[in-house]
Symmetry: C2
Subunit: 428 residues, 2 copies
């Protein structure tokens, strides 16, 4: 029997004797030497056991007197085996991406590069803002692709929109946020967590008449319509932000998904003092990658600078550096081009197939942007039939405000399967 | 010149003419056919340019009449090149891990396994709680290593302590948190963000007399002393939680770093209804990996279940599944054993070397746990000399409450360099 096991046995025996009151509180234990002799074991073993008992507080040593049992009010460990209701979380096949939309080989190469050449960096904690290499790449990307000019320090990396909003709301002292319906729950809920007043609007002119500290909006691709905020409305919005000294939170997650019109510059490029720009890699790289970034206006950056030590970076360095490599190599840009074409093709096939079944049962909207189509059914029965068929396919759908309108995502449907799927969903 | 470039040129020319008032508001544009003819270009090109201008709101078409210029209140893009003060964030060589503490080859194998065999899963979004594979592994790990019994659904994965606390504070309606000084700023600050009353205590008996909704504590390895919460105090703490119906947040990040006494069971094992257990992979796997987990008491899990759709998972699936593989293969357990020995060896070498220079200038504490040592200097001059030498080496140190006591981390110093480093820091 090993010495370690023996000392644990001694420790447990004495502990049990204390817990069962065989060794009453305040009683004196045998000296180490006595205990060792009477049990025929080494003093080292007894010493270790006594030490552990003392560290945990079962006994205490009094100088030049010996070890005494502590007065312990005993609490037994709970040992209930609990079984709780799991969260039923479905992954709908139509709401994913198809294999051709993610190049795992290239991403693997990027990861391995970091593991081979950046080991020293990986062993150090993350920079609070995010790694400089990644922020530099995002800076160039934003300048080239989104007309966003900013200093590399204004960029903060975070694990998704929620992590970034927690930082934003941690450095500002505001109280209200406005948005156009339908709300993006995962973002607006963060404001609710901080007891913000949330102001929902269903039309743009109303919004311009209302005061609010923040406005949450996706001006380059509004949800679910896919419309661009028209230039006049954009300018009115900037004037609005000036008037009330408010901040526009520009969530630009889906700027790329436009098919028959050009991508327009970010609203941040028109007023970098009143716009907080937020971008993400979820739609362009991998839905299960949690990596977003925000560009703070200079005034807010200065507030962040004062309090940065309060915030921990939330994205692992390995993934930050891998994506930085991906961008630096130019492969990310090539991927975006390819993706843009794949999105457009899929969109065209969807529209062609839907038109085959288009009679007076429904009209479609949001056909020029995004990876969903909005069906406006003319009556409830047709809508219900569509929903029933979605259920059969375990497909995702979203009903707009109790109406006969349905948002239907299609990013996860392979092009070759689209004719069959559309037939199944829309056949009379 | 490609068609795309041509249409962009037409678009830009017309847009500039509108912005410069050459085409005044409300004026009618040439028809597509006219414009094409007069510029000797195809109607398709003009149509694309007009479409883009209409999508962005510079012009609008009136049915059976033609295209008209909109009345635009012009705002020019900002184009200031800003340069802002960066955050000076130092990576101190003594506060990292040494190369032998991270096996990059094994971790690379785990990542590549996921990229080879779990591609379909990677293309789907993350489960809000975290991937089931990882939660199952954490469940067994906690049962075997920390005496923590829980259902797999009680486990929530998050990108560090801050992400987890945001979820916790998002499902509870509490108002106060208590902790023993010195505070762990990154955690306590989250409570401040939600306007919690923060109650700092400098001794344990005081803490037991005070009411608070939450208590934030690391009972298996208190900071910076490395002490274990004695069994009597632990029991008093559980009684305290019952009395006030409060929650103990058990931050167990450093349970493993004990050298001359056994690791003790988590306090969660004694009362799973009043303890929120939090663990992390930062100290055992890689400091730049952002992955932690919390075990919610059943009552809090039920609240989370009602609101889970408000929260997004913050850890990328690739890393979740890689760590799950690492645990499942048994290699993580082997790594922990190795790490435990490496920590102990380094600790012993440090203590031996420090003893060479120990005269009546200082005493040391916190020698039996953690990867730092506390030096209590007898006078300011000796403390200042030590600090000066830390600066020369760009080493990290932390002064405790304006005293002559200094917390000195040593995890990043290679064993072979320890004699030289200790000499440099402590020579008379």
């Amino acid at each position: 029997m090993s010495d370690k096991l023996l000392y644990e046995q001694v420790y447990e025996k004495i502990r049990n004797n204390i817990m069962n009151d065989y060794y009453p509180a305040k009683s004196k234990l045998a000296s180490i030497r006595q205990y060792a002799k009477s049990h025929n074991i080494s003093t080292t073993t007894v010493e270790k056991a006594y030490h552990q008992l003392a560290v945990e507080g079962y006994i205490a040593s009094r100088p030049r007197s010996g070890y005494y049992v502590m007065d312990i009010h005993n609490i037994k460990p709970t040992s209930k085996k609990r079984t709780l209701k799991p969260i039923t979380y479905h992954n709908h096949p139509n709401d994913q991406i198809t294999p051709c939309m993610f190049d795992s080989k290239v991403y693997k190469r990027m990861l391995n590069q970091v593991l081979n050449y950046n080991q020293e960096s990986l062993r150090k904690p993350c920079h609070p803002n995010g790694e400089l290499e990644l922020r530099q790449e995002i800076q160039s990307f934003l300048r080239e692709e989104r007309n966003v000019l900013c200093d590399v320090n204004q960029i903060i990396i975070g694990a998704g929109i929620q992590s970034l909003l927690h930082i934003l709301l941690g450095i500002t002292q505001n109280q209200s946020v406005m948005y156009l319906e339908p709300e993006f729950t995962k973002a607006i809920n963060i404001f609710r967590q901080y007891d913000y007043k949330t102001i929902a609007k269903d039309n743009f002119p109303d919004l311009l008449k209302t005061e609010s500290d923040f406005l949450y909006i996706s001006p380059s691709n509004m949800y679910p319509s896919g419309d661009i905020l028209k230039v006049n409305d954009r300018n009115k919005l900037i004037t609005w932000a000036h008037t009330y000294d408010s901040y526009i939170i520009e969530d630009d997650y889906n700027y790329l998904m436009r098919y028959n019109s050009q991508v327009i510059p970010a609203i941040q490029s028109f007023d970098d003092a009143h716009v907080i720009y937020i971008g993400s890699f979820s739609k362009t790289l991998l839905p299960s990658l949690r990596m977003s970034y925000m560009v703070l206006p200079p005034k807010l950056y200065r507030l962040y600078h004062k309090r940065y030590f309060n915030f921990a970076q939330s994205v692992s360095k390995l993934e930050q550096l891998s994506v930085a490599n991906y961008m630096k190599s130019g492969l990310y840009y090539r991927h975006l081009k390819k993706l843009s074409k794949l999105y457009k093709d899929k969109n065209e096939i969807m529209l062609t197939e839907i038109k085959r079944y288009q009679n007076n049962q429904f009209t479609i909207r949001s056909t020029d942007a995004n990876l969903h189509i909005v069906f406006d059914f003319n009556n409830k029965a047709d809508k219900d039939l569509f929903i029933e068929r979605c259920h059969e396919l375990t497909y995702k759908y979203q009903i707009i405000n109790d109406s006969n309108s349905i948002i239907f995502p299609y990013s996860g449907i392979e092009n070759k399967d689209i004719p069959k799927v559309v037939k199944t969903l829309l056949k009379p």
